[in-house]
Assembly symmetry: C2
Homo-oligomer: 264 residues x 2
């Protein structure tokens, strides 16, 4: 995406981020389908050398260029969270896809200024697809402007979640109630589902148990594509959200879905 409409210093960071994420593709792809050893983190989620190598690559590149910026990464944690600028990094969103050879995992990078994401990148190394959104600049897929479906109603909506296994029993009840209200629900996808929403292919993604690095990069992409992304109470997603996320193609679907959530 051209960055001419952004403030010069943000434009420079945005160009740098896009270049660096492109370079990180080969770091991830080197390990894809090569049976990297799978380790288990404290939260019992899997991680591989691919996740760690990609995050290390991105951190090193960012801190070399912007040594006083903060960092919020999946694998190496937090640093300088009092900085004005903080980078959110999920090196491989969809590690469970990655370790099973499924190509729809992605690299997520966002820049936050004073806690608010100003740009976000969803990059899918295997397919070479990329979605970028920057504040006030719109959303682009492969360099072309894209937009959510503005007129879909809830009853015609396509609903996604990565897996039923991300929900508690109560949350599953909420998701099942939403399922009853839509045209179609599907599982799978991780960040790819949100990217499809930005592309006008999916209308609703409802998930729980997410971490800030899972959703911060999604916010500029979805909002700039004309969609809405909040927590389950309708509040904007921030570093401090509770991990329950709803993304919707338009305000009408968002409102209708929140009403169903509120009754459960």
């Amino acid at each position: 995406m051209k960055s001419s409409g952004l403030e010069p210093q943000i434009a420079e960071m945005f160009d740098f981020a896009q270049t660096t994420v492109t370079q990180a593709r080969e770091v991830a792809l080197k390990w894809f389908r090569q049976a990297p050893e799978i380790m288990t983190k404290d939260d019992e989620s899997p991680v591989t050398i691919a996740d760690r190598s990609v995050e290390q690559f991105l951190r090193d590149a960012i801190l070399q260029r912007y040594p006083d910026h903060g960092m919020l990464g999946e694998e190496f944690g937090l640093s300088h969270l009092d900085a004005q600028y903080i980078w959110s990094i999920d090196p491989i969103d969809g590690t469970r896809s990655f370790i099973s050879g499924n190509p729809l995992w992605g690299c997520l990078v966002a820049l936050l200024r004073d806690g608010v994401p100003v740009f976000g990148i969803i990059d899918i190394p295997f397919t070479g697809e990329r979605w970028v959104g920057a504040h006030g600049q719109g959303c682009q897929y492969g360099g072309v402007a894209c937009r959510t479906r503005q007129s879909t109603r809830l009853e015609d909506a396509i609903l996604y979640a990565t897996s039923p296994d991300i929900f508690t029993q109560q949350e599953q009840g909420v998701f099942d109630a939403l399922t009853q209200a839509v045209y179609l629900r599907r599982f799978g996808g991780d960040c790819y589902s949100y990217a499809l929403l930005a592309l006008g292919q999916v209308d609703l993604v409802v998930e729980a148990g997410l971490q800030p690095y899972d959703y911060l990069a999604l916010r500029p992409v979805i909002e700039e594509a004309g969609g809405v992304i909040t927590d389950w109470t309708g509040q904007p997603v921030t570093m401090h959200s509770d991990g329950r996320v709803i993304a919707a193609a338009n305000l009408a679907i968002h409102r209708a879905a929140l009403e169903i959530i509120a009754t459960k």
Copy 2:
């Protein structure tokens, strides 16, 4: 795949099939993410002009070349099922993925001789990936031999199914019991999950409610890659199977999974 080890007339059909499936890619991709109208079939599953156009293209090509062959297709049904050679066609396996912009749908083609699949093709137009298996010739991914994981045990296995929504309540109980026995379960994928099994990335795919055109092309791919694909009682999948399918990376996993299925 070179067809030099096959009987000449089968080799010729195999070459023809691979060429024709390549030609069919553009028929499908022309409609992908272009909001084709979604119609609903008698079984309430969705279908679009893309499904029908691809199947029509493949049928026309096959019947022009082999007018006395039989045909078993998803959209246009059965013809000449008393023929020695029958073609099984699923023009777009994963229509629900297709209509939501998800790229992991595929085109499945198999040739049956006297009811037994002699070769099968799993083609993924968007990613340009292809798996082919022909009797006695092994399995290839992108022209390179591939093999299932021969030594994975059930407790280390990665288990896939397209969606929990394909199961009856009793079948869901079986799937949940298998989930307890494996390392990881994931949803999503349609034919792509079986292709990942042939590639040595996934160890177990357990589904129900499938139609013959959903699984007949999978059998040569998986068997030639060193895997096993049967119904839930361990019988080979044929045109007359009940739609409950289990594919396993090796005999040990297959046996262990069937034991769990039998107790449920």
